[in-house]
Subunit: 352 residues, 2 copies
C-alpha cells in the first residue's frame, strides 16, 4: 500500500497539456444524418468497431435525423457523464481524496495543533496501512477540513495549483492526463451533434469545476456534483465574498444523481454514462424517458492498460467504483450497453 | 382588496402568444463592435435614449470589442435577471402566490378536510381582508401544500395548465403576457452579443422553469430560483420518478442570490438586473468582480402604465419588491444604473 500511496510521487514539472482539449471542431451542428456519420468515423477514432461504438452511432442517428421517429430537437439534447472511473482513472483512490490528504499537510503548517489530533495525525504519519483503516467518519472530517472554511476563489486557486504538480503513482503523470481518450471523443461527438454535455459526479461540484472546461471542454455551470453550501459576507473593506461552508446540500451519488440532475438541469437526459452502482439510478432515470435513450457503463476489465475490477464477471472486488453483478444483470435486462475497456477501446489514454 | 383578488378574474380563453418570443434573430455572434451597435439600435426599440440605454450599450461595447481593455471572452459572458418586478409585473401579489392560492381549491376537492383547517379555510373563503392578514407561516403552509408532494412532471403539467387561463386582475391578461418588453429586448440583445442569460429569482425554481423557455427564451437549466429537494423512488411498476419534497435547499433571495449563483452557475456574472432590496447582494457580488460590470435596478415610477412604489424617492411603500431609500443610496454610491420605467421605457408591454 505504501508504494501505492498517491501523495508520494509528486514531481514539480510544469503542466503538460497533451490531451487537454480535442482539436476545436466546428461548432456548427450537422443536420443531416449522413454528415453526422461522416464526423463519427473521425471523431470516435479510439473506438474499435463493435456493439458499444455502434450503440453510440445508432443513438445519435436516431435523435438527430429529422426524419427519425425518435428525433430530438437540438435544444432538448442532454447527455450526462459520471466522472471517476467513467471519464478518468479512479484507482487506487479518487483524485479528490488524494487532494484532501495532501491538503492536510498545508493545514498542519497553518494550525500545528492538528499534528496531535486524529484523523489528521494518521494522515500526516504517511503510514499507508493506518490510512487505509480510516473510517468513513474520519474521511468526512478530512474532507470538511480540506474543502470548506475558505473563500471560493481561494479554494479554486489551491486546487488549480495542486493539479499542476500532483501525479498519479502508477503513471507518474498529472491526474488530468489520465482521462479516457475514447470518452473525450464521445463527449465531443455528442456536442458536435447538438448535445449539451454535463458531468454528474459524486465528487465535489466546486472541485471538478476548477478543471472541467480545460480537461473536458465542459463549463462550470454544466458540472453537477456533491454540493456544499456557501455563505455570503463582506471582508473588512466591505467587499462581498462567498465562503465555502461545511453544509451538505446534496450528496450527488446513487439516488442523489437524478435528484441533482433535476436540481441543476431541470430535465431528463437522453444519454447517461457511468461505471458503478453509484450511477445506477441516473441510468434508470434516463432510461425511463420516451424515445431514444442511451445508457452505457464502462467495465474496467483491462489490467494491462488500466485496471480490472468488478466484482461482476469474476473480476476482483473494488473499494471505489463497484461494478456489481446486480448492476451487470440490470444492464442486460434494460438493454444498457456495457463498454469493455479491453475490447472496445483501441486506446485508453491520449499519451499511449 | 376583494376586487383586486387575482384568483377572481379567470377567463378560459385560449393561450394568446402575442409577446412570447422575439423574432428569432441569428444566433451568430457579432464580433465587431460596429455590428453590435447596429443590432442594438433595432433590438432596444422600446428604450428611450438616455443614461439607462446608454449604460447597456457602453457595457456591451466594452465587453465584446476585442480591442477593449475590458473585453470578456464569449464563453465567460454571464448576465443574471431577477424575475418578479424586473422581468414581469409583481403587483398586487407575486404570480406564484396566486397560483398557490388557486391551487388550494383543487387540493380541497381531493382532500375535503382542508376546508375546515386553517389557513386553507381562509383561502377558500375568498375573504380578501382575511387573506391579506395571513402570516408568513400561513403562507409557507400554503406553499408547501401547493408546491410539494407530487411527481415533478405532475407539478409541471399543473402549472402549465394554470398559466393558460389565469389572468391578472387589472389587465385581464395572462400573467405571461405581462412581461416588460424593454427587458425582453435587453435579454435578447445580450444573447445576440454572446451572453448567457439567467433568471435568478426568489420564486420557485421549478415554477419558473415551466415557462422560462417560452416566455423569456431561457432554458430550464438557466433558471436559478428558490430550490426544494426532490426524492427519487419507484412507482408500482418499478418505473423511477422524482417527488417534490417539502425540504428547502436554498432560499434564493437577498444573500441567497449570490449563493444560488455560485451553486448553479459557478461563476460571477458580468451584468445583473434587479428591482428591490432582495437583489442588493446579487448586484454587490456582480460589481465586486474586475473589469466592466453592469448593475441595473428597475424603479417602478409609472402608475399610469404599470405601478408606482418604492418606498424610495417618496413613492408609496410596497409589500412586494421594496425599492428602499438605502438601496437607492447604494446604487448612487456604487454607480449602479436606476431604470425609470416612466422615463426610460417607450413601451412597457408588447400589447400596448
Amino acid at each position: 500500500m505504501k508504494s501505492d500511496d498517491p501523495s508520494r510521487g509528486i514531481d514539480r514539472r510544469a503542466l503538460v497539456s497533451s490531451l487537454i482539449l480535442l482539436p476545436a471542431l466546428s461548432a456548427a451542428l450537422l443536420s443531416s444524418p449522413v454528415q453526422a456519420q461522416t464526423t463519427s468515423s473521425a471523431s470516435l477514432a479510439s473506438w474499435n468497431d463493435g456493439p458499444a461504438k455502434q450503440a453510440i452511432l445508432d443513438f445519435v442517428r436516431a435523435t438527430t435525423d429529422q426524419g427519425s421517429p425518435k428525433f430530438v430537437p437540438a435544444d432538448d439534447r442532454v447527455a450526462t457523464f459520471d466522472q471517476d472511473g467513467t471519464l478518468w482513472v479512479e484507482h487506487p483512490i479518487y483524485t479528490q481524496i488524494v487532494y484532501c490528504l495532501d491538503r492536510v499537510s498545508t493545514l498542519a503548517t497553518q494550525k500545528p495543533e492538528l499534528k496531535r489530533i486524529e484523523p489528521f495525525k494518521t494522515v500526516l504519519s504517511g503510514d499507508g496501512e493506518a490510512l487505509a483503516k480510516l473510517s468513513m467518519h474520519d474521511l468526512e472530517t478530512i474532507l470538511v477540513a480540506a474543502l470548506t472554511g475558505m473563500p471560493v476563489e481561494e479554494f479554486e486557486a489551491e486546487v488549480k495549483k495542486w493539479l499542476e504538480t500532483a501525479t498519479h503513482p502508477r503513471w507518474k503523470r498529472l491526474y488530468t492526463d489520465l482521462t479516457f481518450q475514447p470518452m473525450l471523443e464521445v463527449q465531443q461527438y455528442l456536442r458536435d451533434n447538438g448535445f449539451k454535455t454535463y458531468i454528474v459526479t459524486g465528487g465535489g461540484q466546486d472541485f471538478v469545476r476548477v478543471y472541467s472546461q480545460r480537461v473536458y471542454g465542459i463549463p462550470p455551470e454544466q458540472v453537477v456534483g456533491t454540493m456544499g453550501g456557501t455563505k455570503f459576507g463582506y471582508d473588512k473593506n466591505g467587499k462581498p465574498f462567498l465562503t465555502k461552508e461545511p453544509k451538505l446540500l446534496l450528496n450527488n451519488d446513487k439516488a442523489g444523481k437524478p435528484e441533482g440532475i433535476h436540481l441543476m438541469i431541470g430535465r431528463r437526459p437522453h444519454a447517461a454514462f457511468g461505471n458503478s452502482d453509484g450511477d445506477r439510478e441516473m441510468l434508470e432515470y434516463t432510461g425511463a424517458g420516451d424515445g431514444a435513450r442511451l445508457m452505457m457503463l464502462v467495465l474496467h476489465d483491462d489490467d494491462a492498460r488500466e485496471y480490472a475490477y468488478g466484482p461482476a464477471r469474476g473480476l476482483p472486488d473494488s473499494k471505489f467504483g463497484r461494478f456489481t453483478a446486480a448492476l451487470d444483470d440490470e444492464a442486460k435486462k434494460n438493454g444498457w450497453t456495457v463498454i469493455s475497456m479491453k475490447n472496445d477501446w483501441k486506446r485508453v489514454f491520449s499519451f499511449e
